[in-house]
Symmetry: C2
Amino acid sequence: MMKAGQFGFRLTAIDGETKARCGVMTTPHGECETPLFMPVATSASVKAMRPDEVRGLGFEMVLANAYHLMLRPGVEVVEGAGGLHSFMRWDGPVLTDSGGYQVFSLGRAVKITEEGASFRSHHDGGSVFLSPETSMELQGRLGADIIMALDECLPYPSERDVAERSLRLNYDWAVRCRDSHDDEQRALFGIIQGGMFADLRARAAQMMVGLGFPGYGLGGLSVGEPRELTFELISETLAHVPEKAPVYLMGLGDLPGIAESVALGVDMFDSALPTRIARNGSAMVDGGRINIRNARFTSDNGPLEPSCECYACSNFSRAYIRHLFMSKEILGLHLLTCHNLHKLSHLMSRIRAAIVEGSFPALLREFRSEDGPR
Amino acid sequence: MMKAGQFGFRLTAIDGETKARCGVMTTPHGECETPLFMPVATSASVKAMRPDEVRGLGFEMVLANAYHLMLRPGVEVVEGAGGLHSFMRWDGPVLTDSGGYQVFSLGRAVKITEEGASFRSHHDGGSVFLSPETSMELQGRLGADIIMALDECLPYPSERDVAERSLRLNYDWAVRCRDSHDDEQRALFGIIQGGMFADLRARAAQMMVGLGFPGYGLGGLSVGEPRELTFELISETLAHVPEKAPVYLMGLGDLPGIAESVALGVDMFDSALPTRIARNGSAMVDGGRINIRNARFTSDNGPLEPSCECYACSNFSRAYIRHLFMSKEILGLHLLTCHNLHKLSHLMSRIRAAIVEGSFPALLREFRSEDGPR
């Protein structure tokens, strides 16, 4: 296995019309091609999937959540197993989110000081303290290839003065994350926040870039704001990030949104959306989602999506999958998860191929059309 | 595909010391080796498993439940899909239980006459009528390779006069099943009941054998009676069943019980036990079951069972699987189901090999020992 300190990112193709680009990311657990989508393995499992199936769908990196894993099973259990890779049996790269988002979405139960965040475990009510230093230690002990700085996530919407104060705190925390992080072991990404204010996002980008991280997360987006604003803020932010750094848009997982963001220069995505809506019965199909519980599928012997080549569509009918859902059969959750993840994987590989071939703008138009993938 | 009318069963090896035997069963969907265990796919899915995984574990036949499928999704949906095999994507043989057991376990909600059983659907409250004739029609439309006669299952314990009355009803129903069944399409097995009375079981066997079915189910056993009585009743019954007919012990799925029953001449087994206890966190291991939720497995990096070669044991630790259960991750249900089904499959193949090699009595002693498989 290569040394973790050798984290790298090199561009391999750049679209002539948009800011879309292809790259290869090098990590201690191998290389991956970007733009890439990371299935979410919050608690060290991509829900309803075997890890070899996730790999078989073409995914090269998964995301786990340090906050959740700290609370359960506890970092000592994962560390004792030899780290996340051997614990969850995923031999490719793993990125851990710091859990800042989860901590702050707890709302009133959290007490934030300059030092860090104190809160109570939702499992056992125990008191937990997370600071930039403890977050780095935690993510290091979990053994991820890429770890994220601890950041404060603002509720949406937030006032300008709140966003300004938060910007300062995030900068201080980023400095402390950087200073307490051992770069030889794994790559630390900074996170650019700034609320819904373009100038604050620009300033945050400049400040984080000044700290010289090997990659940057865009945090606090796709949290309920209008979609045009999301893209405007991404664009404004990336004007201040060096081209050679990988950019990770945190938490956006719809197909048209991914295509638009790639056009703005984003390299990495994650979202629980494809797997979560699958468990609610929703299949992502061209032209709009379908919910398989709908009575109109009762006797529909066609596949979820005729053009799809996933395991579910290659083998099972809408009628059968609907029956599985109505009967609360676990296989139903698995089959829709397979389909939605395949959809994501297929999209990312089409995007990469289009960038290389120079046809990305045409692909983007397809995603903007009414009957495009959803 | 061969003609269904060509159902057959031939013995290929007979143990010299016990009544254990190996055979090959021929069905419209291929051959299978006996003794065999059928994983239960009550609602046309072996819970938490893909059908190709069930096949990969070495199972050749699965069981579905006509009663459950009649109520949901409805026979017209399965028939419209081309029958159970294409609906659930299982290309091997399928056996359907009539659902007699389910009907009668509803208790007071059922009204039984000589004509048949009336009850209300537990899904929509709709009125349902099941007679020998409608059961044959139902199972035929579902498209199973082997179907079971509609029988009355007695509660345990039941008085002798109740069991005697039931014996007469079951005989009349078996005659009507036989007369309304088209033997060219699939094989119909009669079911031998008789409560916990050895002489009634013997009489039931003689009466059913007199009707000339190609195979016989033993029903109403393993319902709470002492284990010694189960084996005594099996033994007493099989004394009256011709050697050439396959015998199916309905609903017994523990490993020592299967080994003992094979020794008495049983060829086929089914049980929801291995998959159901898996979903409760129980793994079948030599010497006794373990529940993976137990805190002592928190940091246990060993496999569920060191000697096991199943997918779960080859890849994941007890600590990880425990974590999956504590976190309510679907993968946990899948992994324990894999393990328990592998255990069953492995047992059946050891039993078949031992019968062929003449070492079955030694294997039986192993299963009787304290540290034998459970």
